[in-house]
C-alpha cells in the first residue's frame, strides 16, 4: 500500500495550507492536519480507490466542522477581535483584510471557496467533499464572493453585527 501512503504524504503541504486558511492559526491548523492523517491511516481499509486528495480534504473539512461545533458550545472561546480597525497600509494589510473577510463567511461557503480558489479542486470534487449537488457548490461560491466583496467594499461594521 506504498502508493496510498505516498499519496497521503504528497498532500500534506496542501492540507496544511487549507487548514491554515480555515483556522487562521498555525498550531490549530497543524493539529487538524495531524488528526486528519491519523484518521486517514487508520481508515486506509475504508479507502476503495478514488482520489486520495479529495478524501483527505473531506476528512479535514468534517473534523473542522466538529471543531467549530464544539467551540460554539463554549461561548467564551469565540471572541470577536476588538482591534478590528481597518488596516491602513503596508504589505500585510491586504492579507489581513482577506483573512477577516473569510472569517465572516458561513462555514460551508468558506470551505467551498477555499477548496476551489486555494486548493484548486474542481466543482465536482468540492461537491463530493461537501456531499452536496454541484448546484449547491455554485451557490455557496457565489454567496461567498458577494459576502467578501461587501466586506472589502466597506460593509464591515454592519456585517459584523449581523454575523
Amino acid at each position: 500500500m506504498a502508493t496510498f501512503r505516498q499519496n497521503v504524504e504528497a498532500t500534506i503541504p496542501a492540507l496544511r495550507r487549507y487548514a491554515r486558511a480555515l483556522t487562521r492559526d498555525a498550531d490549530t491548523a497543524d493539529d487538524l492536519v495531524q488528526d486528519t492523517l491519523v484518521r486517514a491511516l487508520r481508515s486506509e481499509h475504508l479507502f476503495h480507490g478514488g482520489d486520495v486528495r479529495s478524501w483527505l480534504y473531506t476528512i479535514l473539512t468534517n473534523l473542522n466542522r466538529n471543531r467549530l461545533r464544539s467551540l460554539a458550545r463554549r461561548p467564551a472561546l469565540s471572541p470577536i477581535e476588538d482591534n478590528d480597525a481597518p488596516d491602513l497600509a503596508g504589505p500585510e494589510a491586504g492579507g489581513r483584510d482577506i483573512e477577516r473577510a473569510l472569517a465572516t463567511l458561513v462555514e460551508d461557503q468558506r470551505n467551498a471557496l477555499l477548496l476551489v480558489v486555494l486548493e484548486g479542486l474542481s466543482y465536482r470534487e468540492v461537491a463530493e467533499v461537501q456531499a452536496v449537488p454541484i448546484g449547491t457548490v455554485m451557490s455557496r461560491l457565489a454567496r461567498a464572493r458577494v459576502q467578501i466583496k461587501n466586506y472589502l467594499d466597506g460593509g464591515r461594521p454592519a456585517l459584523r453585527r449581523v454575523k
Binding site: 501512503r5 497521503v8 504524504e9 500534506i12 503541504p13 496542501a14 496544511r16 495550507r17 491554515r20 486558511a21 497543524d30 492536519v33 495531524q34 492523517l37 491519523v38 484518521r39 486517514a40 491511516l41 487508520r42 481508515s43 475504508l46 478524501w55 473531506t58 476528512i59 468534517n62 466542522r65 466538529n66 461545533r69 464544539s70 491586504g94 492579507g95 483584510d97 482577506i98 483573512e99 473577510a101 473569510l102 471557496l113 477555499l114 476551489v116 480558489v117 486555494l118 474542481s122 466543482y123 455554485m138 461560491l141 457565489a142 464572493r145 467578501i148 466583496k149 472589502l152
Partner: protein
C-alpha cells in the same frame, strides 16, 4: 446580477475565473465581458479575491512540514499505541471496575442511587469508546465480516440474545466487536465507522436498571446517548456532535426496539 436573456450565466462567470471552462467557451466569455463593463468589474473583483487568498496562504505549501506531521511520526505514534494497548486496556478495565463496582455497591444500599449507577455505566462506555476509537491495529476482536459469529459469541457471553444493528443506511460500516469487562458482568462492544473515519460504538450489558428514556452526556470531544431497556442498558458513543449522534442513536434504538418487540 446577470440578465436573464444573456447568453452567459453567472455560473459560467465563476467557472471562467476558476479556470473550469473549455477553451472555446472561455474565449466567448472573454469577448462578452469586453462588451459588459459592469460584469467585467465584478469578475475582476472575484479574481482579486482569489488572488488575495492565494497570496495570503499560498506560501504555506513551501514551509517545511513539521516533524509531527511526517507520516513516519504519525505511524510510529500509532504503533506505540498498539504495543502498549494491553497495558492501557488493563488500566481502563480496572478503573471501570472500581467506578462501576462502587456505583453498584451504592445502588445496593439505596435504590434512589439508580442514576449514579446509570451514569457510571455511561462513563464505562465512554472510557471504552475513548480507548478503542484511537486504536489502529486492534480496535476489535472479531471483525465486522463475521457478524453472525460475533452475535452468537457475544450473546452467549452476556447470556442475552443480542442484536448487532445494521447501520449501513446511514453510512456506518461495522468494524467489529469485542467483549469487555463491565461492572455488572460482561459487556458487548460494537464499533462502526463512516467513510471519513469517524467511529461510533455501541456498548451494552445486562444491567439492573429501571427502564429509562434516552439521556445524553458529553465530554470534551466525545458524547454518548444511553438508555436502559428491559434487562439491558445501551450506550451509543461518538464524536461530540449531538445532531449526528442523535441520528445514529435513533437508528440503533429503532432496530433494538424492533427486535425486542419480535421476541414478545
Amino acid at each position: 446580477m446577470i440578465d436573464r436573456d444573456s447568453p452567459v450565466t453567472e455560473d459560467e462567470l465563476h467557472a471562467y475565473i476558476d479556470g473550469m471552462l473549455p477553451a472555446d467557451r472561455k474565449a466567448a466569455i472573454a469577448a462578452w465581458l469586453s462588451d459588459h463593463p459592469e460584469q467585467a468589474a465584478l469578475v475582476a473583483s472575484w479574481r482579486a479575491q482569489a488572488e488575495g487568498i492565494r497570496a495570503r496562504y499560498g506560501a504555506v505549501v513551501e514551509e517545511p512540514v513539521p516533524e509531527r506531521l511526517k507520516l513516519d511520526q504519525v505511524l510510529s505514534r500509532n504503533r506505540t499505541n498498539g504495543r502498549s494497548w494491553a497495558a492501557i486496556a488493563a488500566a481502563a478495565a480496572i478503573v471501570a471496575f472500581i467506578v462501576g463496582g462502587a456505583a453498584g455497591w451504592m445502588a445496593r444500599g439505596a435504590s434512589a442511587a439508580a442514576p449514579t449507577g446509570f451514569d457510571a455505566f455511561a462513563s464505562e462506555a465512554l472510557d471504552a469508546y475513548k480507548l478503542y476509537v484511537v486504536e489502529v491495529r486492534h480496535p476489535v476482536e472479531v471483525p465486522g465480516s463475521e457478524r453472525v459469529h460475533m452475535t452468537q459469541w457475544l450473546s452467549k457471553r452476556l447470556g442475552e440474545e443480542l442484536r448487532v444493528p445494521d447501520l449501513q443506511t446511514i453510512g456506518l460500516k461495522l468494524v467489529g466487536g469485542r467483549l469487555l469487562p463491565g461492572s455488572t458482568g460482561a459487556a458487548a462492544f460494537y464499533m462502526y465507522e463512516n467513510s471519513s473515519g469517524e467511529r461510533f460504538t455501541i456498548y451494552c450489558a445486562k444491567a439492573d436498571l429501571p427502564q429509562s428514556a434516552l439521556r445524553y452526556v458529553s465530554e470534551d470531544k466525545f458524547a454518548a446517548f444511553y438508555w436502559a431497556d428491559d434487562k439491558i442498558a445501551y450506550v451509543v458513543s461518538g464524536p461530540a456532535n449531538r445532531e449526528q449522534l442523535e441520528t445514529v442513536t435513533k437508528v440503533v434504538y429503532e432496530q433494538i426496539d424492533k427486535s425486542a418487540a419480535r421476541k414478545l
